[in-house]
Symmetry: C2
Subunit: 301 residues, 2 copies
């Protein structure tokens, strides 16, 4: 089955303690799409300026990512972000944000996207996420991401969205902010009480927690020693997860668990280089190899 | 097989965001012994003052913990610690430390402790840990804990100890401090390079990582929503781990993995109440129940 993603497309400038990159391809929808492309075709909706190089679009197209929904705004500039990671490679400072075309992003789904059964609303204003949801025609599974900014300034709109979607994906600090619960198990359950059918809490290098009607569990991250750039880890996690679910056309708990593992593994590759560089070097077989390693790491006899 | 532990015995005063306890039974060797007692008899070495109530000693004895090595110093006071947990229940401030009898702790093993095959050197000065090791007669497995203080002020002595022991257990921030590596996989491997045969990095609510000659893995904590007091989580983890290994008289990788799971589960109970309160309510069957839940949580089909 195909998968729809709506989110940001950006130029990232990233500084880590040992290296840096300027104006590389980034954005939530970009990382998500590439990660999902190991599993399923993707319908991408986003906006860029006229400074967006054609080869970036070609790269996405080469991965079976449909860019019909990629709007190019003449005379305008692409969203750009500049950030710096602290030595722990987990915390980061945002040094510069230029929303540019993303500021007035008002996504319109191409006609042939509207029936896409699997939908991911990447981090963005809940009002914009809702606008996308209104255009989707009876999707089978809708999952949304969010961030602290929206929890603070569009709380009401976010709560309305949560009641309409199936799954919410967010990081641990955001879950605490959203629910007021410091304990992550309580926070995850509180998201279900808000109306989500399931919730995935991302804990960065510490893995992810799942909460659903049938209970909760935690899965660790795949331990890697080559963390060059954590940017896009959460989005590539979500892309792997949704891509797998779309590929098997399933939403049952066992499939979601496998999907979380695939998300974990795509993210584990993604952080091994800047931008999409590491993901560009691998194919599905590399994921299957880590899947087997991960399975055996967690097998307790 | 029996298990020897040498470490602190204390009165703890603990404040959490919602509750507090004054002068309850605490200390690394206390938590360790109780946790290990689900699995195997324990030979305890420690020191207390004359303010130590007999019923605390009786409680330990009732768990098949041999207190022959518990020295009671007349006219002196027991080590006491006072701390306060921040709202995240992971970070804490130490408000008061009175070393008292622990300041001049110079452990002497009773004659019938010297052949104990499994040895745990709880957190303490590396010089004192080494002094214990010198008295142990050809132990089968020696594991030590340490802390930031010793890494800073007795680094040379700690490095000498690491070369002599089998396993080092320490928390993630201590591992970074000891090795200078920010990435935990690199930090764990660096501990092996220092001469330890294996290393266990404790990540608190995020679980634990194992590093050995055969590779490394990570195991998440058991997700619990009833965290009342994290004090002693690391020591009860170590107690469950070493207690299980002693009970099966094994040191092979598969047994160590099961041991880490038991450590994880004992710790998950321990944090559900202050002091030893929650551990006092359970028996081995409760651990087996969580073992099955944990196994199924991590089973990926």
């Amino acid at each position: 089955m195909s998968l729809l993603v709506v989110g940001s497309i950006a130029f990232d400038s990233v500084e880590t303690p040992t290296d840096r990159r300027e104006n590389v391809i980034g954005g939530s929808a970009t990382y998500f799409s590439y990660a999902a492309s190991y599993f399923t075709p993707v319908n991408l909706v986003g906006v860029v300026g006229e400074d967006w190089p054609d080869e970036h679009t070609s790269l996405l197209q080469s991965r079976n990512i449909n860019t019909e929904g990629l709007e190019v705004k003449a005379g305008e500039k692409t969203f750009s972000w500049k950030g710096k990671y602290l030595p722990n490679m987990n915390d980061r400072e945002t040094l510069e944000v230029n929303l540019n075309v993303f500021e007035s992003f008002s996504p319109v789904l191409p006609e042939n996207y509207k029936e896409t059964p699997f939908v991911f609303l990447a981090n963005g204003a809940p009002t914009v996420q809702m606008q996308v949801l209104e255009q989707a025609n009876n999707p089978k599974l809708v999952v949304a991401d969010t961030m602290d900014l929206w929890i603070s300034i569009q709380r009401k709109e976010l709560l309305a969205l949560i009641e309409r979607i199936d799954g919410l994906v967010l990081n641990d600090s955001e879950a605490k902010l959203l629910t007021g619960e410091e304990n992550l198990v309580k926070a995850g359950r509180a998201v279900l009480d808000m109306g989500a059918k399931f919730c995935v809490l991302k804990k960065g290098e510490h893995g992810a927690m799942y909460f659903g009607e049938e209970g909760w569990y935690v899965l660790p991250a795949f331990p890697t020693q080559n963390v060059l750039d954590p940017t896009g880890a959460g989005d590539s996690f979500a892309g792997g997860m949704m891509g797998y679910l779309a590929s098997v056309n399933a939403t049952d708990p066992a499939s979601i668990k496998r999907a979380l593992v695939y998300g974990t593994l795509v993210a584990s590759y993604n952080v091994e280089d800047f931008s999409l560089e590491r993901m560009k070097q691998i194919e599905r077989d590399a994921l299957e190899q880590r899947f087997a390693q991960y399975q055996s790491m967690l097998a307790i006899s």
